[in-house]
C-alpha cells in the first residue's frame, strides 16, 4: 500500500514543479526572517526573487553543521518563538548540541512522512508497534510515535533500555512491529534466546531500524534472530528526524520523500553536484519545513542516488544505504576504512556476533587498528586450536577486504558495551595527548 499516492508516485515534471514552488517560497521566508541567510545571499550575490526553479538549487550556498552551531540555539528559526511547538536536540559528540525547532505544521509533516514510511514497510492499523527508540530530545522515539499513531497502529512507547521489560511487553502485548536502532534489535534478539522465550510467544513480523549505519549482513543476522523482515528508515534530526527516506518491499534503496526533502549528491572536495549513481556526500534542502528549513545542508553521509523506476510503483528518488559518514571514515596508514566494511566481514562469519569495536592507536608513528570481536556464545569451542583458527580467518578476511592488516582480539560474549541508543563502535586514541 502507498500512503500518499499523489506525492509518492508523482511524475518527474509534477515533482519538479512542486519542488520549484516550495523552494522559491522557502528562500523568500529565509530572506525575510533570518539575518544569517540574508547576509549569506548578499555575500554570494543572490537575488532571492530570482530563484524560481529547483534547477537553480546548485547555485545556492551550502549550510553546514558549523552554521547550526554558530547560530545556537535558535538563530536559524524562520518563525517567531510563539509558533514553535517543540524543540529536539541531538547530543553533540563535540561541543554544543544541534537544536531543531518544529511548528505545528512541521510536526504534522513529520507524522505524514513517518506514516508513509511505515506503510511502505507494510505496517497498518491492527499492528502493535513497540517503539524502543529513545523518547526525549533525540528524534527517534517521538518521531516514530506520531507516524505510527497516524497509520492507526497501537503504540507501545516503551523508549529504549530495560531489556527485561521490553521482552515482557513484547510477549504480553503481542507486539508485531519493533522500531529501534539495529544494534539494540540484535541485543533484544540475543536476550530472547538467552531468556529462553519460546518463539511462539514472539509475534514480531517487521522491524523498522535506523539512526545508525548498518549493513545488509547485519540485516540478515537480525532477521534470523527475530524471525522478522527488517527495513531501514533513514533520517537525521537536522532535516526532521526519522522519515527522511525509507526502504520499500523491493529493498533496492531508500525512497527519499523529495517533495519535502530535496536530495543532491556532491563531491565533498570540489562541492560539485554529481550525477545519478555517483558516490558522494548527501545534501538536503528541506523546502516545506516551517520552523527551521535548511538550504543545501551537508549531511556528511556518503551514498548514491538513483532516479530509475522502482517496482513498488513509487517514483521517489532512491538513496543507497549509507556507506558511512565522511566523519566516520577512518584513515589508517593512508587507507580509507569504514566501520561498515569491518561489520560486513564479521557478519558473514557464524563464529562471531554482530558486536565489535575498533580501537585505533598510533604506535611509533604507525597507525594500528585493533578489532575486538565477541565470540559467539552459542558456538565457541574450548579448543585453542579452533579459536586461533577463527582469529586467523577474521584476520585474513579483514586484510582481503580492507587491504591493511588489523590486530584481532577475541573477547568474551557480552563484554562490549551494548548501546541502548547508538553503538560506540570506534575508539580513536590517536589524537589523545
Amino acid at each position: 500500500m502507498i500512503w500518499n499516492t499523489e506525492r509518492e508516485c508523482a511524475d518527474r515534471q509534477q515533482m519538479q514543479e512542486l519542488q520549484s514552488r516550495e523552494l522559491a517560497a522557502m528562500i523568500r521566508r529565509m530572506q525575510e526572517n533570518v539575518p544569517f541567510y540574508r547576509d549569506k545571499f548578499r555575500e554570494e550575490g543572490i537575488e532571492p526573487g530570482d530563484i524560481r526553479s529547483v534547477e537553480q538549487l546548485k547555485q545556492l550556498p551550502f549550510t553546514t553543521k558549523a552554521d547550526l552551531r554558530d547560530n545556537y540555539p535558535f538563530g536559524l528559526f524562520t518563525v517567531p518563538q510563539t509558533d514553535v511547538v517543540r524543540i529536539h536536540a541531538s547530543s553533540g559528540t563535540t561541543g554544543k548540541p544541534t537544536v531543531v525547532g518544529y511548528t505545528q505544521g512541521d510536526i504534522a509533516l513529520w507524522a505524514e512522512v513517518v506514516a508513509r514510511s511505515l506503510t511502505m514497510a507494510g505496517i497498518h492499523s491492527g499492528d502493535t508497534i513497540q517503539i524502543a527508540y529513545g523518547y526525549g530530545p533525540f528524534t527517534g522515539g517521538l518521531g516514530l510515535h506520531y507516524g505510527a499513531e497516524m497509520v492507526g497502529a497501537t503504540v507501545i512507547p516503551i523508549s529504549t533500555g530495560n531489556t527485561k521489560k521490553q521482552l515482557q511487553f513484547m510477549t504480553d502485548f503481542k507486539a508485531t512491529i519493533l522500531a529501534c536502532t539495529p544494534s539494540y534489535a540484535a541485543h533484544l534478539g540475543e536476550s530472547i534466546l538467552k531468556e529462553g522465550i519460546s518463539p511462539a510467544d514472539i509475534r514480531l513480523r517487521i522491524g523498522v531500524f535506523g539512526a545508525e549505519p548498518w549493513t545488509n549482513e547485519m540485516r540478515t543476522e537480525i532477521e534470523k534472530l527475530l524471525s522478522i523482515k527488517a527495513y531501514d528508515i533513514y533520517g537525521l534530526s537536522e532535516v526532521i528526524g526519522p522519515g527522511v527516506s525509507m526502504e520499500c518491499a523491493c529493498q533496492c534503496g531508500n525512497h527519499v520523500f523529495e517533495d519535502h526533502f530535496i536530495p543532491e549528491i556532491i563531491d565533498p572536495e570540489t562541492l560539485e553536484v554529481l550525477p545519478d549513481g555517483a558516490l558522494g556526500e548527501l545534501v538536503f534542502t528541506t523546502v516545506s519545513k516551517e520552523a527551521m528549513p535548511l538550504l543545501r545542508y551537508r549531511t556528511r553521509d556518503l551514498t548514491r542516488l538513483h532516479h530509475g523506476k522502482c517496482d513498488c510503483g513509487r517514483t521517489l528518488v532512491r538513496m543507497e544505504k549509507c556507506l558511512g559518514r565522511t566523519d566516520d571514515m577512518l584513515i589508517i596508514r593512508g587507507v580509507n576504512v569504514f566501520p561498515s566494511q569491518v561489520e560486513s566481514v564479521l557478519m558473514e562469519m557464524a563464529e562471531t556476533t554482530p558486536h565489535y569495536q575498533l580501537i585505533i592507536r598510533r604506535e611509533n608513528n604507525l597507525d594500528t587498528m585493533e578489532i575486538r570481536v565477541e565470540i559467539n556464545e552459542e558456538n565457541w569451542s574450548d579448543s585453542i586450536r579452533e579459536l586461533e583458527g577463527i582469529r586467523r580467518l577474521i584476520d585474513h578476511n579483514i586484510k582481503s577486504m580492507l587491504g591493511i592488516g588489523a590486530i584481532i582480539k577475541l573477547v568474551e560474549p557480552n563484554s562490549i558495551e551494548r548501546s541502548e541508543g547508538k553503538a560506540k563502535r570506534i575508539i580513536d586514541e590517536r589524537n589523545k595527548p
Binding site: 565470540i375 556464545e377 565457541w380 569451542s381 574450548d382 579448543s383 585453542i384 586450536r385 579459536l387 586461533e388 582480539k409 577475541l410 573477547v411 568474551e412 560474549p413 557480552n414 563484554s415
Partner: protein, 141 residues
C-alpha cells in the same frame, strides 16, 4: 562415564580468575581439577567440579560464558608408567587427544582427557579394564 567439564573463556583481564573462583566458592562448588590454557590475549579455563550444572548456572548469571565439554576421567595407579600405558592404548587405537591434564595425590592419580570422540575413548579404556570415574565419583572426591 562421560564427565562434564566446565570450559570458561576468559579475557586477559586481571582478577577474572579470582572472580570465577569466588562464585564457585559462594555456591559451595568444589574444584577437583583445573587447567588454564593461555594465549597472548585470552585464556580458557577448564574445570572438573562436583556439580557442573549448578556451577554453570551460577557462573552464567555472573556474566561468564561457559561451555560444557564432555571429557573422560581415568583413575590410574600412582606409579611410573601408568599414564604411558593409557596413552599407548589410545595411540594404538589412533585416537587423537585434543588436550589433557593430570594430577596425583597418592590416594588417586587422575588424568582428564579430551578427544573428539569421547565415547570411543571410554570404550577402549574399559576394554583394557582401566577405572573411569563417573560424575558422582567426582562429587565424592
Amino acid at each position: 562415564m562421560l564427565i562434564k567439564q566446565l570450559s570458561v573463556f576468559l579475557e586477559d583481564r586481571s582478577g577474572r580468575l579470582t572472580e570465577l573462583t569466588r562464585i564457585l566458592a559462594e555456591n559451595d562448588v568444589n574444584i577437583t581439577a583445573l587447567s588454564v590454557a593461555e594465549t597472548a590475549d585470552y585464556g580458557i579455563v577448564r574445570l572438573v567440579v562436583g556439580r557442573p550444572e549448578l556451577a554453570k548456572v551460577a557462573l552464567e548469571k555472573a556474566g561468564f560464558s561457559i561451555g560444557l565439554t564432555e571429557v573422560v576421567c581415568v583413575n590410574m595407579p600412582d606409579k611410573p608408567g601408568s599414564l604411558y600405558r593409557i596413552l599407548e592404548i589410545l595411540t594404538d587405537e589412533k585416537i587423537n587427544i585434543d588436550y589433557m591434564y593430570a594430577f596425583s595425590n597418592k590416594a588417586v592419580a587422575l588424568a582428564v582427557i579430551r578427544a573428539a570422540d569421547a565415547a570411543h575413548v571410554i570404550e577402549v579404556l574399559q576394554q583394557h579394564r582401566l577405572q573411569l570415574l563417573t560424575q558422582s565419583d567426582i562429587y565424592q572426591l
